[in-house]
Structures are given as C-alpha cells and as structure tokens.
C-alpha cells in the first residue's frame, strides 16, 4: 500500500482545507505518507501531487530537498547522533564510533534485521545537553557510550515502544480545527479589504 489509504485521504483533505492554496499542504501530506509506509514511495508522491494539484516532479523536487523524507526504507528506529559543534566538543564522535560498533554498521547504514538506521545529524537544538541524539526525533540528552548501548538495546527489545513510535510517526497529537470555531480560508486574491476588526 503506497497511495494514501482511505483514513489518510480523509486526513489529507482536512489538512489541505486549512491552507488558502492546496500546495501548501505538500510537506504535511508527505509526512502523512511517511507515517503510513515508513518511507516515501513514488506512488505516494504521485498521490500527494494529485491531492495538492501539482505534478509528481514538483512534489518529488520538494520531497528530496528535506532531510526527514526518506526515499528508501529505513530502520524502524532512525538514530540521529548530533555532530555539530557543541556536541562535537563533548564527545559526539566517540558516540558515533560506539554506535557503529554496537550496531555493527557504519553511519548511513541499516542493520540487517531492519531495526536501526544510524545517521550523523546536524544541530538538534539541545546544545546545553550535549552530546545528544534523537531516536525517531525523540531526544536523549548528555549521552555516554554506556548509556547509548543500553538505550539501543532497550529500543531493539521493544521496552521503549510507549515513548518512541516507529519511524514515520512524528507528532502523535494532531491539530484538529473544530468546524464551528474555524474562520476558514479564502483564496488570497479574493480578499481586497482589511479584516473587520481593523476598521472598527
């Protein structure tokens, strides 16, 4: 299944409805696709293009620009070890080495059991808590090599399932605008006057 499933199509239409122009929903819908399949398939790109009124090439162009969208399957857990300055000053490279040894793969690789993909990441906005890492974008702070091994084992054996969902799931809480409260959208070119509160 690579096109968006029925439930996700309903969600996609709700998301598109929040923007004055449908194409603005491109990145959120690619996230929906990645949540569904764990990565972005060509079929999903074509489907998102259909939904937002763009060509597949345009959506492909957008998709490949952003780090988080994976065009190939990755492990259930994407481990991003930050290696930018503050983390590097406090031992990020040792952490990367330790992770490579522990998982038996190089950065950029995926373990044969499909559980882990290891990557070097750029600054994750946790610089005071260096060195830090993210597993599917959930943080671990001030990580020592020993803690890293334990953490990876816990993840692999499913002990952190409640906290860390599989790759593709970013936010587990979604915005939902109640119909009776929504202002709703107007096409940008159809508005010519100041909003009412400005003229009062």
């Amino acid at each position: 299944m690579s096109r968006l499933n029925d439930a996700n199509q309903v969600l996609a239409k709700e998301i598109i409805g929040r923007y004055p122009k449908a194409r603005s929903a491109t990145i959120p819908l690619l996230h929906v696709a990645q949540q569904q399949d764990g990565y972005i398939t060509n079929e999903a790109i074509a489907h998102v293009a259909e939904l937002v009124g763009a060509t597949s090439a345009e959506v492909f162009g957008t998709c490949t620009f952003y780090e988080m969208f994976k065009m190939q399957p990755v492990g259930k857990y994407l481990i991003n070890i930050c290696t930018t300055m503050s983390c590097a000053l406090l031992g990020a490279e040792e952490l990367v080495e330790h992770a490579e040894q522990h998982l038996g793969i190089k950065t950029g690789g995926t373990t044969p059991d499909g559980l882990f993909t290891l990557e070097r990441a750029e600054c994750q906005a946790a610089c005071t808590e260096a060195p830090c890492l993210q597993a599917n974008y959930r943080f671990r702070y001030r990580v020592t090599p020993a803690q890293l091994g334990e953490f990876l084992d816990d993840l692999g054996e499913g002990r952190l399932d409640a906290e860390i969902p599989p790759h593709g799931v970013v936010a587990r809480v979604r915005q939902s605008i109640p119909v009776d409260r929504a202002v709703g959208v107007v096409a940008p070119d159809d508005v010519h006057e100041a909003p009412v509160w400005m003229s009062a």
């Binding site: 122009k21 194409r23 603005s24 929903a25 491109t26 990145i27 959120p28 690619l30 996230h31 937002v52 763009a54 959506v59 162009g61 957008t62 620009f65 952003y66 780090e67 988080m68 969208f69 290696t83 930018t84 300055m85 503050s86 590097a88 000053l89 406090l90 750029e122 600054c123 994750q124 906005a125 946790a126 610089c127 005071t128 808590e129 260096a130 993210q134 974008y137 959930r138 943080f139 970013v170 936010a171 809480v173 979604r174 915005q175 939902s176 605008i177 109640p178 409260r181 929504a182 202002v183 959208v185 107007v186 940008p188 508005v191 010519h192 006057e193 100041a194 909003p195 509160w197 400005m198």
Partner: protein, 468 residues
C-alpha cells in the same frame, strides 16, 4: 530550585526578571489550566480592549527586537506592509536550527499557550488574517505540545471565529517542517510553506512584509519575539524598556554550551549582562570545566565570528558586539577551552553549512563544500601550505572585502567590525566562511602546525624543450 527535569537545560538561579520563562517552573506549564491560572490570555484581553493601532504603538514603543538573529524591531517590521493591501499573513518561524541555539524549542514545549497568545496579539495589531505556525520537523514533542495547546485554545474560544466574543477572528494553522536549516531564512520559510524546496527568494523586495506568502504581505516573526508580547500587553512599554538598555530592552534567552561547568539556557537581562557574567557567574555557567582556561567562544550561534578571552567584558548588546567584530545572532554561546583542537572544532561548523547549503547561489553551493574539503584535510593533518590562502580566496568569492573578526592582544590585531559584503542571497554562504575565517585568523599557528611540508613538483612554464 534552580533547574527542572521537565525543562532540560533551563536554569533560573538568581533574581532575574522573567518575561518569557515564568511558567517553566511548573511541570504542567504547557497546559491550558496552568496557563489560565498564571495570568494566561490576559495579554490578549488587554489587547482586545484597545484598538489595533494602539497595540501596534505599544510594541513599537517597547522596541521588541527580533530574537531570530537579525534583531530587527518587531513593531517596525509590522509597519512595513504596504497600505491597503490585503490579506496579510503571519508566519511564525519555529524552525530553530542555528548551531548552538536552544530556546524556541523550550518555549514551544514548555509554554505553547504563551506563543499562541503572542501570535493572536500580533494578528490583531497588524491586521493579519491567518497565522501559520511553522515548527521544525525534528521537534516531535514541540509539535505535540503546540498541537494540544491549539486544540484546547480553539475549544475554549481563544482562537478562531469571534475570539472572546469580539469581532477579531483568526485561524492558527500548525505546519510541520521536514528538516532544512536554510528554511529559517524568512523567504525560504515562505517557499517551504508554499510547498516548494526551501530556497531563499531573490531580493528585493527585502522584506516579505511587502510581498510574502502567496505574493501577499507577510510578517515573519521568531517564536521568542512573539512570546514577549503577552507580558508586554499586561505590563507596558515603559515596564519593558525599564529592563535592559535603551538599544536592547527587555530580556533574552541565551543558551551557553560547550566546555563550561554548568551549560544552560538562561533568560538574561538584555544589553547589560556580559559574556564574563555568563561564562563565569555563579548564577550562570560557573566557569570553564575542570578549571581550564578559556580559549575562544562563539557569541551568537554558528554564523557568528568567534570571540577570544579579550572580549569577555562585552555586554550582550548588538551594537557593541557588532563593533567588536561579531554578532549576537540567535542567543547561542558555544565555549571552547584550552584543550580544544581548533581546526577540528571549526570543521564541525564548516561541515554544517556545507551540508545545509540549498544550492541556489553558486558561491555558497560550490564554496561551502570546497571550504569543507580543505578544512577536513587541514584538520586531519593532510593540508598543504597553499590551503590556508586558498580558504581566504574562496571566502573572498562569497564575501568580497574585509570580513569581521575580533581584536586580539596576543596577535596584536584590531577588530574588523560588522557588516560584510556578500555575493549570495542569504547568510548561509557567509556563515560557511565565518568559522573558517575566525579559526584561521585567530589560531593560524594551530593550522600551520598540522600542515605537511611537502616538496612541490616544479612545473615548467617555459618551453619543454629546454629541459631536455
């Protein structure tokens, strides 16, 4: 208590004013209940009791400086929209990813309603009819917290149609990014929000306030900037400017990381707190780790030229720091002690910018990667004598003319002040050169010590026959 398990890194020792972090002390500071119990949405009510123009004037009078990096006053920015062109939009820049910067994520995770309230006040004052809250993709918890807060605030009547039974109506839409540093540049942010590759737009127009989202006037404000507004409205511009200095009023959030005893995120008094206070003060970082000597520090995020111990007594004030050869940027100080391998440390930043270059401008796309390759071999001890000059030559292609750097008594050099000229649309290109320029200018001997003295193969430019 001075730090809290639920706000990793945040430290509120001492008796400093709190404008944006007052709810960090509560574990449930992100909930609507706690927000309302601690004066939440009172700023919105105060705003609605006045005309939009009066609110706008208050923000102008307070000189709320943009906290994203450029430090442009928010009130002035709102006033740059062309008259009688509608609709106007608000885009919130929550794409925090400048190396060393850690504050907007905390503000979104710990007090999302404060940010929402700030958005509402901005929309009311500047006549912005829809708000898009762009949160960096990698910040899963911030997205969940803001989504929950938006859902609760909609249900309670604080967002949407006829807010608090007034004629003010606005939708706030949560938008997820997907990982790209350059999207923090405001026109790239708008491109991304339109569903495109996040590449900065050609300038002019210099401000999206003229032509922005969907070609309409758009205000782009940083998370921390907006988080200041609820306090400002429940207090006054006079109260706000009573904190800090005339040119840098209020407080600002600063993250200090690297080789200090106690790294942390602090809400500091703007304009008067010095770097020495921050690095050595008891209520702040308490000195360099292991009692080591300070070697250098980055005063304003990865894009800022480096400072030396010579600059420790400078206060956190934009003009003074600019004259001293750097910038305050996004409120991020990264500290290096005497044990730091400078070429390697600088390389981590060069690599960052080379990786994040969007590819639109040639000097950045080619230059950043080239800088990275040279820095890599210099750091690894494979560099050659010509490499250092080559770095400067590439730098001149990105930033022709003098480039800012700090003064050094040890080296006997004066400061070269901000700003600089650039051949790229946005600051990613110059930023790729910044750490290279600082490291080589201030620590040249460390690079030279690593250079391999090779015998160059002589190349004849004369007639080949001569050598026979």
């Amino acid at each position: 208590m001075s730090s809290y398990t639920w706000a990793p890194g945040y430290i509120d020792d001492g008796d400093r004013p709190q404008i944006v972090t007052s709810r960090f002390q509560y574990e449930d500071g992100h909930t609507l209940e706690r927000f309302l119990a601690t004066g939440g949405y009172a700023g919105l009510k105060a705003a609605l009791a006045r005309t939009p123009a009066q609110v706008h004037d208050e923000v102008k009078a307070a000189t709320v400086l943009g906290r994203g990096g450029a430090g442009f006053p928010a009130g002035t920015k709102w006033g740059l929209t062309p008259t009688e062109v509608w609709p106007r939009y608000l885009v919130v820049n929550g794409d925090e990813s400048e190396p060393g910067t850690y504050k907007d994520r905390l503000l979104m995770e710990r007090d999302p309603h404060q940010l929402i309230e700030g958005c509402l006040i901005a929309c009311y004052a500047a006549g912005l009819s829809q708000c898009f809250l762009y949160i960096r993709g990698e910040m899963a918890l911030a997205q969940e917290r803001v989504a929950t807060a938006l859902n609760d605030a909609y249900a309670a009547g604080y967002i949407g149609r006829n807010i608090l039974r007034s004629n003010f109506s606005v939708d706030i839409v949560l938008h997820w990014g997907a990982g790209a540093y350059v999207v923090g540049e405001e026109t790239a942010l708008i491109e991304s929000l339109e569903g495109n590759r996040g590449m900065p737009r050609l300038k002019p127009p210099y401000f999206p306030a003229a032509i922005g989202l969907y070609g309409k006037p758009t205000i782009v404000n940083n998370v921390e900037t907006l988080a200041n507004l609820p306090w400002l409205l429940t207090h006054s511009a006079a109260d706000y400017t009573a904190i800090g200095t005339a040119t840098s009023p209020g407080t600002r959030m600063v993250a200090v990381s690297g080789h200090v005893k106690r790294p942390g995120v602090f809400e500091i008094v703007n304009g008067t707190t010095t770097f020495r206070d921050l690095l050595y003060g008891d209520e702040f970082c308490q000195g360099i780790r292991n009692g080591n000597e300070l070697k250098a520090f980055v005063p304003g995020g990865g894009s800022a030229p480096w400072f030396l111990p010579d600059q420790l007594d400078l206060p956190f004030e934009a003009k003074l720091v600019g004259a001293a050869g750097s910038m305050l940027g996004s409120g991020a100080v990264m500290v290096m002690d005497e044990t730091t391998d400078i070429p390697k440390a600088a390389l981590t930043l060069t690599r960052f910018y080379a990786h994040e270059s969007c590819g639109k401008c040639v000097p950045c796309r080619e230059g950043a990667t080239w800088l990275e390759r040279i820095m890599e071999r210099l750091a690894d001890g494979h560099g050659t004598e010509t490499d250092l000059e080559q770095l400067f030559e590439i730098g001149q292609t990105i930033c022709p003319g003098p480039f800012p750097h700090a003064a050094s008594e040890r080296l006997g050099i004066e400061a070269a002040p901000f700003p600089f000229k650039m051949t790229t649309i946005c600051y990613v290109g110059p930023s790729a050169y910044t750490s290279v320029h600082s490291a080589v200018t201030l620590f040249r001997s460390e690079f030279e010590a690593k250079i391999v003295k090779r015998k160059l193969i002589p190349v004849s430019v004369g007639a080949i026959d001569d050598q026979h």
